[in-house]
């Protein structure tokens, strides 16, 4: 069964209950993309002008630490969203994103989307509402990771 | 022999001397006779050899954090409420070795204890204490595992209960439906009557063993009037309880208020001293200690009384689940009045008032329950 761009976007949980009138614009900002394994999708410091829906594969969010080398702090997998630094200034990536396996994704033109959100605040609110949930979930997860719940307590 | 008077079923009259004879018969039958006596300014339960050892002519003044003995104007043998001891210390010993182990050549063997059956006679068991015994029976005998030592001690106890004709300053058995009249679980139950120069006991017979013991001493049949008089004394006592506790829906009330601010307030006063658990006749928590001698070749396991207020009671994974006085007091009170019902089908509290009397700062379980209940709005009560 061939999934059109539109159907993939519409069926994604992220866009559940997204107002119809904005869906067409969103679809226009999106296109399919593929990455081989061990490929840097973006690097720390790069301009954050896109975000991604991962359709298959796995991406590692990593930070390069002087004596440890590149360290993965989180992996993003199938069905998840990659990248929120496009939302706030200075619109630069804070981490590296590197594929761990061959990865297929939908890439969204965030630069274009940002401009449209400034114009149309309804659209802006819908997008930010949803990205807020993603960020909250990541924050919860990060806090749990910080707590080191499997570590020694004594 | 008295002239013929209307007889009442199963009730006899004993004089204090005849009661004393009863004790001698028990002793002759190799019972360890245990009853109330005075030691270090309080009524305790210990070996007694005659009614002379009883606290004749003494009563107790009890209030929150206060216990004093006071002289009575009469010579009542049981004219007090309850002291710090409860009967649990005989059936559930404060310290007991469970087994020993010996090691040689890296291998070890376990040596069990051979225990002799005891024959206790408890003299002067209050109605609340009868309930406390049956509550502990549920814990130690009716669970998935039977405590064999408790069973051994519990099986042969001869119980002489005593109705209360005077409520204590911190008593609330009437609220808990556990007294002041001894209803079941006894061989004999006494009501002490001092009236117009007479001093005697109306004795209800509860079992064949009780009847048999009574037949060994001279006695008289009780008249209906005697019995009625005694019953009225007890009924009056029920109206003069030192405390009261509204138990209607108390389990649900406390579950609804697990986070009530009152727990923080009582925590400011509670010292986690664990007195309440030591004196409570139903508290059953214990700990297990494994010890070795210096050579490391002989080991023992002991069971000892414990308290949910101790620091490491709930220790797991590097810290205690309940480390604050707030959580510990809440655990104790919620267990006593709420969780116990889910665990064993009855309340864990018999209204004896000991926890109130022996708390160094006078924390009062009835007051805590009342404040929480009164703090509920109709909305919060609806859950």
């Amino acid at each position: 069964m061939i999934h059109t761009l539109e159907s993939v976007i519409k069926e994604h949980p992220f866009f559940q209950d997204f107002p119809e009138e904005h869906l067409e614009f969103i679809t226009g900002c999106a296109k399919n993309v593929q990455f081989p394994e061990k490929h840097f999708i973006f690097l720390e410091g790069d301009p954050a002008d896109e975000f991604y829906f991962i359709r298959s594969g796995m991406v590692s969010i990593e930070l390069v630490i002087p004596h440890l080398g590149p360290t993965t702090v989180q992996t993003i997998g199938e069905g998840e969203i990659l990248g929120w630094s496009w939302v706030s200034p200075p619109y630069r990536w804070h981490f590296n994103a590197k594929t761990l396996k061959r990865t297929r994704a939908l890439v969204f033109d965030a630069k274009c989307l940002r401009a449209k959100c400034e114009e149309d605040h309804d659209l802006g609110f819908e997008m930010l509402k949803r990205f807020a949930s993603i960020i909250t979930a990541r924050l919860d997860a990060t806090r749990l990771q910080l707590l080191d719940i499997y570590g020694h307590n004594d | 022999m008295t002239p013929k008077a209307p007889r009442s079923n199963n009730s006899v009259v004993l004089s204090p001397q005849q009661l004393d004879q009863l004790l001698q018969v028990l002793a002759k039958r190799d019972y360890e006779v245990l009853g109330p006596t005075i030691r270090e300014g309080a009524v305790v339960y210990d070996h007694v050899y005659s009614t002379k050892d009883f606290p004749a002519g003494w009563t107790d003044e009890q209030a929150g954090g206060k216990y004093r003995l006071k002289r009575r104007e009469d010579d009542a043998l049981f004219g007090f409420a309850v002291g710090a001891h409860s009967w649990k210390k005989f059936v559930f010993p404060p310290a007991m070795r469970l087994w020993q182990a010996r090691r040689s050549d890296g291998l070890f063997q376990i040596i069990s204890e051979t225990r002799k059956a005891t024959k206790f006679a408890f003299i002067g068991v209050r109605a609340c204490e009868l309930h406390a015994l049956s509550i502990q029976d549920k814990v130690f005998l009716k669970g998935p595992f039977v405590d064999t030592v408790y069973k051994l001690h519990r099986e042969n106890i001869f119980i002489v209960a005593v109705d209360c004709v005077q409520a204590g300053g911190t008593c609330f058995c009437a609220s808990m439906n556990t007294g002041p009249k001894a209803a079941a679980g006894f061989d004999l139950a006494l009501t002490e009557v001092l009236h117009e120069g007479r001093h005697h006991f109306i004795v209800r017979v509860g079992t064949k063993a009780g009847a048999d013991l009574v037949s060994q001493v001279s006695h008289e049949e009780a008249t209906a009037a005697d019995v009625e008089f005694a019953e009225n004394l007890v009924a009056e006592a029920a109206k003069h309880m030192g405390r009261s506790l509204d138990v209607s829906g108390i389990k649900e009330l406390l579950y609804r208020n697990i986070e009530h601010v009152r727990w923080d307030q009582v925590a400011d006063r509670c010292l986690s001293c664990s007195n309440c658990t030591m004196v409570c006749p139903t508290c059953f928590c214990s700990t297990v200690e494994d010890l070795t001698d210096l050579s490391g070749q002989q080991a023992e396991r002991w069971r000892k009384w414990d308290s949910c207020f101790t620091t490491d009671f709930s220790y797991i994974h590097g810290s205690s689940v309940r480390s604050t006085p707030r959580s510990k007091y809440r655990q104790w009170m919620m267990h006593k009045l709420a969780y116990w019902i889910d665990q064993f089908g009855t309340s864990g509290c018999v209204g004896c008032g000991r926890c109130i009397t022996w708390c160094p700062v006078g924390i009062d379980i009835t007051e805590e329950a009342r404040v929480i209940r009164e703090g509920e709005t109709p909305a919060s009560a609806a859950g």
Binding site: D140, Y150 | T287, D306, T324
Partner: protein
């Protein structure tokens, strides 16, 4: 009071549940740098090991003490008893020094078990964290031995770091089966780790099970289970089909020392495996 005579406790007969049965260490396997598995055989050669997945034993190290450890072996094997534990306190550290041939005392098995026989035809989602995989390993052996009785089986496992992953060989073996979905994640990765990094919670959100027909089994740190329960609730799994293994301080494991009380029950007899609705009134409440 009690008098003492020499009474060596006959093995295989356990009239007093406070007295341990003697077992011998057959094998010790280091799973990670602080976790090990003991394989025990009973001194009484005729004794058959019998337990239900989820149950635990009290293990006694001579002179040191006793601790509750979940049984982590295959319930179909009646000749060897396996326990996996972390070396964290006095007793488990002493246990970690035991060698094949040494003896250890065993009391049990105690406690409630995972609901495996009652849930034919269901999806199973098994959510484990850290040492929590140990009490769930018997479940996997059991389910895989009668695989046709169940629909989808998903195992989600969170560990601290790749070197802390337990039962690596079994996980690889299970991963290789087409009828068992295994997803492992770590809180922090080492270089070279090419698997998931992050907590178990997002895995629960995306795992391929049907919430309307799923039984969820959870075992791990309480905070992990709290967040996992929230995700399961979000996906519509009812409380009556969530099961959690809880832990509390234990001394007697027989229901009367009072230490393992958890709200309205005792973890040693009402648990350690609880159906969630049984503990919903106190779960997550601080210091209960």
């Amino acid at each position: 009071m009690a008098t003492m005579t020499e009474n060596e406790v006959p093995q295989g007969v356990n009239a007093d549940p406070m007295i341990p049965q003697l077992y011998r260490i057959d094998r010790v396997r280091d799973e990670t740098d602080d976790t090990f598995t003991l394989s025990l055989v009973p001194e009484n050669g005729e004794a058959k090991i019998s337990f239900l997945p989820g149950q635990f034993n009290m293990l006694y190290v001579f002179g040191t003490g006793e601790v509750p450890i979940s049984i982590s072996g295959n319930p179909a094997i009646t000749s060897v008893l396996e326990h996996t534990t972390r070396s964290v306190g006095i007793v488990t550290k002493a246990m970690g020094l035991l060698k094949p041939g040494d003896q250890i005392g065993v009391r049990g098995p105690f406690g409630s078990h995972w609901p495996l026989n009652e849930e034919n035809g269901r999806d199973f989602v098994i959510i484990s964290g850290g040492i929590g995989l140990a009490p769930l390993r018997p479940v996997l052996y059991f389910l895989m031995a009668q695989r046709e009785k169940y629909r989808k089986i998903v195992l989600l496992y969170g560990a601290r770091a790749p070197e802390d992953i337990l039962f690596k060989k079994e996980l690889e073996r299970w991963r290789g089966k087409f009828d068992l979905e295994v997803q492992v994640t770590v809180d922090r990765a080492a270089s070279g780790w090419r698997g998931n990094v992050g907590v178990v919670t997002p895995l629960v959100a995306r795992a391929p099970f049907d919430p309307s027909n799923t039984v969820a089994l959870l075992c791990g740190p309480e905070v992990m289970m709290r967040f996992a329960v929230m995700e399961l609730q979000k996906r519509g799994v009812p409380h009556e089909r969530m099961y959690l293994s809880m832990e509390r301080n234990m001394r007697c494991a027989l229901g009367y020392c009072g230490h393992c009380q958890y709200g309205p029950g005792f973890v040693c007899k009402d648990g350690p495996v609880y159906r969630f609705d049984q503990i919903a009134s106190v779960f997550g409440k601080s210091e209960v």
